[in-house]
């Protein structure tokens, strides 16, 4: 579903990703871990098409297409969903309005008819229950005055309504207490399916206790330094990121000092 080859990305002319390779197939859940500043969130933003993240080398194929040629809204309509690390507050725009506008944009794109108010509300109410959210949040402005936990739940609610093909969850566990974390994890687990892929970007292994990934990757110095099965996450929790970074540093020095 997603193939990333030799991806180099700069932000404000500063190289952040330096030759990242990643392949994600339908049905798989991948965890991207790594220390702060390793480029985890940059990867999430580049996939969503955020301005200011400049791809200087490499390519990203999504469903066989060149993802980088698509505008952010086209990516979303093609089924890419980013659950933001810091969901944006939008005063004056009701949560329910955003949900409906987004869902109908997808449906139009897929050639389906738009949902009317009754069907839409029935759909959303079911998802609200799944996320243990109060219906009143629908009628408040998007994320305005929401607690940290409510914002993260709201992201997963949107994901549940939009049913993406590829979901990228950027630090969705940060700032959540254990109860909220369980609710969010339940919501995510309920959406696992053979047609859907997920990328969980996280600093801690905690989230992976509740959402078991198929693959775990460690990012260091802008590349995937280490990949493994779900047990790798527990290794990292015990040993920290220092040793992975040190080895990546050595490899980097060796390749920089090598011939050519």
């Amino acid at each position: 579903m997603l193939e990333i080859r030799n991806l180099h990305v700069t932000v404000d002319d500063k190289p952040i990703l330096r030759g990242l390779d990643l392949e994600v197939r339908a049905g798989e859940v991948h965890a991207i871990m790594g220390p702060n500043g390793s480029g985890k969130s940059t990867l999430a933003y580049v996939l969503a098409g955020r301005e200011g993240y400049v791809v200087t080398q490499g390519e990203i194929r999504y469903m066989g297409r060149d993802l980088l040629a698509l505008a952010p809204e086209e990516r979303a309509r093609e089924g890419i969903f980013l659950a933001f690390q810091y969901p944006v507050e939008i005063p004056g725009v009701a949560n329910v309005y955003l949900l409906k506008a987004a869902l109908n944009a997808m449906r139009r794109h897929r050639g389906e008819s738009e949902l009317d108010a009754v069907d839409f509300l029935a759909l959303v109410k079911g998802k609200l229950k799944l996320m243990d959210m109060d219906e009143a949040l629908l009628y408040r402005a998007v994320n305005e005055g929401f607690s940290g936990g409510e914002k993260k739940r709201n992201e997963i609610l949107q994901m549940a309504v939009l049913e993406p093909r590829l979901a990228i969850l950027d630090e969705t566990d940060s700032g959540l207490d254990i109860d909220a974390l369980k609710v969010v994890a339940n919501g995510v687990n309920a959406m696992r399916s053979p047609e859907r892929a997920m990328i969980l970007v996280t600093h801690y292994q905690r989230l992976l206790d509740y959402i078991r990934p198929d693959r775990v990757h460690v990012l260091a110095l802008g590349r995937i330094a280490l990949s493994g099965g779900p047990d790798l996450a527990q290794d990292l929790e015990r040993r920290g990121y220092g040793w992975v970074e040190a080895e990546a540093q050595k490899r980097h020095a060796a390749s920089a000092g090598g011939p050519g």
Binding site: A48, E73, A76, V88, G92, A101, A105, M106, E114, A117
Partner: protein, 443 residues
């Protein structure tokens, strides 16, 4: 029929006055003729303001001063004008239509107006009120201060018609009164004048609506005076949708009685050069004034708002919120003056002006002006100028909403609280449709 002037603005109007005055409403009434004569003298002495006047520092009316305008007599209503009126009808209102400054009973609805109004509500054209010698028109005229500048003086000398709305004590008008002023001809000058008086505890909503064709360059010089009795409530909405080549100069002033409430909305969309002065005087204890405004400009439009809230008595509350959305090379001026006089203890005033610039060439001059002479008061003001938020825009796009729709959505969200106080549903829907960009048809 075309009537003078034949010279540029100031000398043109002065020399055309003697022949025009005899044809204007109330020409045979000595008090009115005297009032017009005096106004003309003031106009001749004042001339038009220049950028040397502090109040007109950022708004040059040189383009008006250079022009030769004519004053048109009433003429037959064409199908074209009928179509324009239909386009601007607002459902659920009493409608009075004025074409080129003249009342058109045939286009007004319901006609004749008074039949559907509650007892004690008198609504007619100002010319009718004057000709019928309705009691007190003279005193309301006399209380109007029209010496402020050349434009108000010019209106006082040449006004051709407008609305006379007089509500006896306790009369509450349920449906808004929609005053629709249509200008149809290039090079014409119109001088609408509206007088609104609400007796003790009376209440009404008045929509003052100015429209004209985009291709015509004309001058619309308007004056509205509002007198609120004890406990009265008037909601005044001024909707400026003049043609894109028009000059629009407006002056609205309210005088508030004890415990009265004045709610003003000033909404500006059209014109090449427009200026609205909105003022209220909290003249007795316990008054409440709410002033909201929204100006939306593009191209090379120039939009100026000068507001003045005069806390002249104790325990008054005022809330002011003006918002601007400016694209391309549009320019706006906001000057908000709040005066708290020495006797006006325990006044409570809040003022805010926020601007959204959609292009690098758009510009706004914003100037709050607080003059506080009392010590036991609560006053605050603030002004901001900003762009659309890149994070918000990206967030919406990342949810599949096209960039243009996302921008339109954020512009609406920005403007929302300036329109929130508009109580008449069909009017609010109309206003939202005038904001830039079309919204996705989803909700």
């Amino acid at each position: 029929m075309r009537i003078g002037p034949e010279e540029p603005c100031v000398p043109g109007f002065v020399s055309a006055y003697p022949s025009l005055a005899v044809q204007l409403p109330g020409a045979t009434l000595p008090w009115l003729r005297r009032s017009r004569d005096e106004a003309l003298e003031r106009f001749a002495a004042l001339g038009l303001p220049t950028t040397r006047d502090e109040d007109w520092k950022y708004t040059s009316v040189a383009a008006i001063a250079r022009r030769v305008f004519r004053v048109d007599a009433a003429s037959d209503v064409s199908d074209e004008v009928r179509a324009v009126v239909l386009l601007h009808v607002i459902e659920g209102t009493h409608r009075m239509v004025f074409v080129d400054g003249h009342f058109m009973p045939g286009l007004s609805q319901p006609a004749p107006l008074p039949t559907t109004l509650p007892q004690g509500a008198r609504i007619c054209s100002l010319a009718q009120a004057v000709e019928a010698r309705v009691d007190d028109v003279e005193s309301v005229f006399a209380s109007a201060d029209d010496a402020a500048d050349g434009f108000t003086a010019l209106n006082a000398a040449f006004w051709s018609d407008g609305a006379w709305i007089d509500l006896a004590a306790g009369v509450a008008l349920e449906a808004p009164v929609h005053l629709l002023f249509v200008t149809t001809r290039s090079d014409s000058a119109c001088f609408p004048r509206n007088l609104i008086r609400a007796g003790e505890g009376a209440s009404a909503t008045v929509i003052e609506h100015h429209v004209g064709p985009d291709g015509a360059s004309y001058l619309s010089d308007t004056v509205t005076r509002i007198v609120l009795g004890r406990g009265a409530r008037i909601a005044h909405t001024k909707l400026q949708q003049e043609g894109r080549k028009a000059f629009h100069i407006a002056d609205v002033a309210a005088e508030q009685g004890r415990d009265s409430a004045f709610l003003s909305h000033a909404l500006a969309f059209g014109g090449q050069l427009s200026r609205a002065a909105i003022a209220t005087r909290l003249g007795a204890e316990g008054c409440d004034a709410k002033l909201a405004g929204l100006y939306v400009g593009s191209g090379r439009q120039h939009i100026d708002h000068h507001t003045c809230i005069d806390h002249a008595s104790p325990r008054g509350t005022s809330r002011e919120l003006y918002k601007g959305v400016l694209d391309e090379a549009a320019r706006a001026v906001f000057n908000g003056r709040v005066i708290v006089r020495p006797d006006a203890q325990r006044s409570d005033a809040l003022q805010s002006n926020r601007n959204l610039l959609l292009s690098e060439d758009a510009e706004v001059d914003t100037k709050p002006q607080l003059e506080i002479w009392a010590d036991d008061v609560k006053c605050a003001h603030g002004a901001t100028v900003g762009q659309l938020d890149a994070d918000q825009l990206h967030y919406l796009r990342a949810r599949g909403i096209a960039e243009g729709d996302a921008r339109a959505l954020l512009i609406r969200a920005f403007a929302a609280d300036a329109l929130a106080g508009i109580e008449h549903g069909p009017l609010r829907v109309r206003l939202e449709s005038l904001l830039p960009g079309a919204l996705p048809e989803t909700v």
